[in-house]
């Protein structure tokens, strides 16, 4: 379930440099900070134009019946740049009542692994994103996303090109998913 075979097909077994690992780590932390601070336009700048942001439905089946989600199935997110921009526009309208007062969130990114690919400008990056959300008077939720990213160097700068997020819940236990996993 965690492995994205499509991305792994190009895996290069050489170790990434410490410098690259540091750069990727800083990239993911910066992204998390933009999310915590609701700096969504800054976040969009960290994505490539051909971004695919995907958080599929997770089947809960017997092992003998296991089934991988496809991009044709239902999904929490199955977004291109246009879709993501629409989500951000919603928060900028001034009439997004459920976001006022603002959501308090902490995006904690851990378990970062960088894998080289055959393309020297593209890296497969695994990470775990634990998001703590606190809203309204005292409603507190924790959500965990297992992420497989494709990060690409564009004009010398790292950008997120693909993200697949696997939620560790079957029934999503919250009324809304207004934070990015």
């Amino acid at each position: 379930m965690m492995n994205n075979t499509e991305q792994n097909a190009n895996a290069n077994s050489a170790m990434p440099s410490l410098e690259l690992m540091n750069e990727v780590q800083q990239f993911l932390y910066r992204e998390a900070r933009h999310h915590d601070n609701e700096e969504f336009r800054d976040w969009l700048d960290m994505l490539t134009e051909d971004i695919h942001y995907w958080m599929p439905y997770r089947y809960q089946r017997y092992r003998r019946n296991e089934k991988e989600p496809t991009i044709l199935d239902t999904a929490y997110y199955n977004d291109d740049m246009d879709c993501l921009v629409k989500r951000i526009i919603r928060t900028e309208t001034g009439t997004c009542w459920s976001e006022d007062p603002a959501t308090r969130s902490a995006h904690v990114v851990t378990n970062i692994e960088v894998e080289l690919t055959d393309n020297p400008d593209e890296f497969t990056v695994y990470s775990l994103n634990t998001v703590h959300r606190n809203i309204n008077e005292d409603e507190s939720h924790t959500m965990v996303g297992h992420r497989t990213d494709l990060i690409r160097r564009v004009n010398g700068v790292l950008k997120l090109a693909k993200r697949k997020i696997i939620l560790d819940q079957n029934i999503f236990t919250n009324k809304s998913l207004n934070v990015y996993l």
Binding site: Y59, T74, Y76, K86, R87, T93, F172, N174, K175
Partner: protein, 445 residues
Amino acid sequence: MPINNNGSRPDFSRYMDIDEGWVDRRIFWEREIYERELEQIFAKAWQFIAHDSMLPETNDFYTTYMGEDGVIASRQKDGSVRVFLNSCTHRGNKICYADDGNTRNFTCNYHGWAYGTDGELKGLSNEHVYDEGDIDKSKWGLQQARVDSYKGLIFATFDEEAPSLEEFLGDFRWYLDIMLDQDDGGTEFIGGGIKNYINANWKFGVENFVGDAYHALWTHDSGFKAMNNNQGFPPADPTGSYHASVNGHGWEFGTDGLADIAILGQPKVLEYYEKMRPKMAERLGEMRSKIFGSLASVSLFPNCSFLPGIQTFRVWLPRGPHKFEMRMWTIVNKNMPDEIKQAINIGCMQTFNPAGVLEMDDGENWEGNTSVNKGIVTRKGKLHYGCGINRRIEHEELPGIVYSSQFNDSNQRLFYQRWADMMNADKWSDVPTRYTPRYTGKKTV
């Protein structure tokens, strides 16, 4: 009005006055009322179980709930579907822990009692520990529900006395065909589905879809602008739009054929339907072809809803008085090109799921509607349901109880009237039919 405190029968019609236009808040909070709902509504009414397309092959199964009773829907060799309790008759453990899949039997994890996909008890592990005569396996199968279907939607009830599904749906079939029979080949669900919990009373979800066009303009202003190039909803136009109610099922709708499809934010879907509309009109008549795609929402009593045009389809499964599980899918026409199915699925999911730009604002409201009733003073108050109370009309084409203007509380009032009718009834024959049927025994296409 405490229930049964003096041994008298409770009268649930006292929790509302649909002529004055109010509903008592306690029906959204009190545990005794909820327990009564499980007994009077969820153990008696026909409920949506699954779409045919979710169980395409023999031995495919899907697990869900009727009220809080876990059930398994299972496709039989002869193509029919059986629905039975998901609980072993030995010590009661669940016999299926998966959401769906394909199996030759359901075997209990506890002692290995094995049931066929027909729900009959087939075998016991280490059967020799039983003496002859200890158990007659033919008497210890799983309790079966009655099952019927309407144009791809599978329904079940645990009440042998319930009227036929056709009578339960009544003239609402005329409206359902707008969604289910607009094209040769009918409908299917896109693979997967999303499930989430909302800490609200289940009726708030159902009543929102049964008739609440009003909230869309305010609650969803931000989501609508996001999906529609920063343009808000057009101002509320009470002309050319309606509420229609049949046996507590309700459809609120405009007749521009456009607004809900536009919310998908997928221009090629709009184009597709524009090309298809003359065919739809030929099949369903001009009026029904214009209802499809307009600003609209629908609920089937008691707990199934959908949005024609946006194509989200869902059930609201009760999980106690203050919590429900929402299960949602995308419904499409089987004969649509894959590219259109996918565009609808993406637009539908982007608007209506826990991360949807419209849905995100709904759950927050319904949790607030519910949780405030923790307050004893708050709970004793009434809620206003009086919008459009004098707008009832007779319409030559539209069956059911019809009110003009989709900005109306009529379908909600009639949903709660049906709720009270069922809560009060000792048996199905005590549940009144409150509309004048036009299509009894007749096809609606």
